[in-house]
Amino acid sequence: MLPFVGRRALTAIPTLFIVTLMVFAIQRSLPGDPALILAGEQRDPEVIAFIRQRYRLDDPIPVQYVAWLGQLARGDLGRSLRTNERVLDLIAAKLPVTVELAVLSMLVAVAIALPVGVLAAVKRGTAVDYGGTALALTGISVPNFWLGIMLILLVSVRLGWLPASGYVPLSEGVWENLKRMIMPAFVLGTGLAAVLMRQLRSSMLGVLRQDFVRTARAKGLRGAVVVVRHAARNALIPVVTILGLQLGALLSGAVLTEQVFTIPGFGKLVVDAVFNRDYAVVQGVVLITATGYILINLLVDVAYAVLDPRIGAR
């Protein structure tokens, strides 16, 4: 088990290196000059020159890249060009917000997908199955931002049940926090729920046909026990894969959802940074995201090994 984890962790290093190279190259090849944006409407040439010099924007790009790598090696992600805050602090402040959103969305997704997917497979070809499929298609097809705005108009403006947007940290009250997270988590969770549900349904169908399920039934186990304890557990393996892969989709979905609900998270941070050409922030966020992504996939591999011991032994 341990060597398996170690091997997988080692492959992450070259991947991360390529990520640093790409994020740097892509950003610098974008048109747009951060100094021009920073100088504001007035665009005073002296201010522009000062900004260029201060943030070393005039240096050749390879020099800037090496300087950044040097910073990284010292554990320093640099400072935001726009607000002069440390990128690490910014990320530390925003990451928990998005992680909370992602976790809540996954809970929403799993809570919807698990029963619906299993039921759709067990009751294949019935109204339950078709209903579930229709629900899933709706979930995938409806864009996040549209669903978000519609929810705000209905739940906040019309009914006045929940605040329309914003964020309150958990430390200022769990309910105050959740009040503002319910809608975004639901919006983000529905799309994922649809994907998970479809995946679970087809993998359940496959498992239900297998010999060991027939054996379990032949042993005289009740239908529910067969489905939950024997079939569902095996059907979950591909679903866990999808869950890991979908984390990327969840993060990109969070970008839009955070915009709509004005949640000061990671997604909003990176979007604003891209539009302001805040190089240091974009680089930092992409790097941390990539690291997170690699970590999650590592965890998924480990989860496989737990769910199916044959994988780790290979």
């Binding site: 048109p31 409407e41 329309a164 609900f261």
Partner: protein, 504 residues
């Protein structure tokens, strides 16, 4: 005895509770997240909205954009225009308790002028030195007479910061600014909120009835409005003009408005970085035909529901600096056609770079359709803001509808756009005579003399049509109906003096 003590306790508790409940918080939705809150370094329009509650200035404007004293009590200008003597209030303290005196004014102006990377340096370029006459008087010494200076001091350049706090904080001053405004800084969470609270020792404390102000950046106009309608916000700025119908139908909202000081126009690249031989750049008749092909009212009606004000000059028609004799031209297709014939061209193709947002794209589409009827084949190039800025700066564009938020003094709307070396002259236009007139207008002693010079300059640069002025935005400040006493100012700042929140 015990009973009366108990009663007393009950009364005190009730009083404390009532007082606690009476805490009023005003929540304002901003269209963007402000940049750094240091008056010397700040550069965004929304930042100015926050500063209006945080940092008082030497001068301010009234609702008709006339300059009035704020931290100053008045000023005099020497005959040669080179010395301005400013008298100060003597009852002002900063949020840290230190006195706002002549020395603090000297310190703040020096800082605004000399802080590395200061965005105020160019606004104070003519200011040579500040001397302290006595505790309540400063003298400003200028290198050359500069009439717009007082107007600059009615904006960020005139914000006085606490020298003690500025020295202690150094570069980090903008993270927790200490000024002399009606509210003091409490906290800021980037991209989330800025919180201010009432400053008890404010010199005009009786005008401040709100206990706490929270600014929340919410860029999406629909979401900003939804928050206002649901009561999560009390006021928003810059709503979508097309949403005004919904807002007016809502009995819980009131919508004060005022025409802005700025303008929206089309900048045409005539010679940036070098004279171009494209017919639109090379032949003024083609540009005139283009202007006559456009119907300003159609743009206003189609894109902005007729809510904005059409115009043809760098200042709006409501401004005292507007030249009435130069009226807004009407669309004239025949004359436009004739001009193209005169210029010897049948159809002219060019690219119109537009900002990549729905509103700007629609403006571009209306222009495209109108001008197409006359003989202009316009390709719209929707360009993300940062890229557009870059292309504009490098002169890689034909024409670009772009605006200016406006300044109190007309110089701020004109000089830098029309002088040969102007920082914001992106069209590459250059006429030494216009330079001379605009330079003289800066130094002229009276407003009458300045108006005359601006009129002469306008009559010279306007026919060249390197900037075709189209319309002026109107600033709307929709707020909940239980807010009393709010007035809209043409500089778009939200002033909370005199604003009251009815009990909820």
């Amino acid at each position: 005895m015990v009973a009366s003590l108990r009663r007393l306790l009950a009364v005190v508790t009730a009083a404390v509770l009532t007082f606690g409940l009476a805490q009023t918080t005003l929540r304002i939705g901003l269209a963007e997240d402000p940049d750094v809150l240091d008056p010397a370094l700040a550069r965004t329009y929304v930042g100015r909205i926050v500063f209006a509650s945080l940092c008082d200035k030497l001068f301010d404007i009234d609702t008709s954009a006339a300059i009035v004293p704020q931290l100053a009590t008045g000023y005099t200008v020497s005959d040669d225009g080179l010395t301005i003597t400013i008298d100060l209030r003597n009852d002002v303290v900063f949020h840290d308790g230190t006195p706002m005196d002549a020395e603090a004014v000297r310190y703040s102006l020096d800082r605004a002028k000399n802080l590395p990377g200061s965005n105020r340096a160019s606004e104070l370029a003519q200011l040579d030195a500040v001397t302290v006459v006595d505790e309540d008087t400063v003298e400003l010494h200028l290198s050359t007479p500069f009439a717009p200076l007082i107007a600059q001091l009615a904006d960020r350049a005139g914000m006085i910061v606490s020298p003690t706090a500025a020295e202690a904080a150094g570069e980090a001053f903008g993270n927790a600014p200490v000024c002399a405004g009606p509210f003091r800084f409490v906290e800021r969470v980037a991209q989330d909120r800025i919180v201010l609270e009432r400053f008890e020792d404010y010199y005009a404390a009786d005008q401040v009835a709100i206990d706490r102000v929270v600014f929340l950046p919410i860029p999406d106009t629909s979401v900003r409005l939804a928050n206002l309608q649901s009561g999560d916000l009390d006021m928003i700025e810059r709503p979508a003009p097309t949403d005004l119908g919904i807002m007016r139908a809502d009995p819980n909202l009131v919508i004060p408005s005022v025409p802005s000081l700025g303008y929206q126009g089309i900048t045409i690249n005539v010679a940036n970085p070098e004279p171009r031989d494209h017919p639109l750049a090379a032949d003024v008749r083609v540009r005139e035909a283009f202007e006559l092909a456009i119907d300003r009212n159609t743009i206003n009606d189609v894109v902005f529901g007729g809510e904005f004000v059409v115009g043809n000059q760098p200042v709006p028609p409501s401004s005292p600096w507007y030249v009435d004799e130069v009226a807004v031209p009407q669309r004239d297709v025949e004359r436009a056609r004739a001009l193209l014939d005169e210029a010897g061209v049948d159809r002219v193709s060019f690219e119109l770079m537009v900002a990549n947002n729905p509103e700007a794209i629609r403006v571009g589409e209306v222009i495209q359709a109108l001008a197409g009827e006359v003989g202009f084949d316009i390709t719209l190039r929707a360009t993300e803001f940062a890229t557009a800025l870059d292309l504009q700066e490098q002169g890689q564009y034909d024409a670009f509808p772009v605006g200016w938020s406006g300044r109190i003094d007309p110089d701020g709307n004109i000089h830098q756009f029309h002088t040969c070396e102007g920082d914001l002259n992106e069209s590459g236009y250059c006429d030494p005579e216009v330079d001379r007139l605009l330079d003289e207008a800066r130094a002229a002693p009276t407003n009458e003399a300045r108006y005359e010079l601006y009129r002469q300059a306008l009559e010279r640069y306007l026919p060249d049509r390197h900037i075709i002025y189209l319309y002026h935005t109107v600033l709307f400040f929709p707020h909940r109906a239980d807010i009393e006493g709010f007035q809209a100012y043409p500089d778009g700042l939200i002033r909370l003096q005199g604003v009251n929140l009815a009990q909820r």
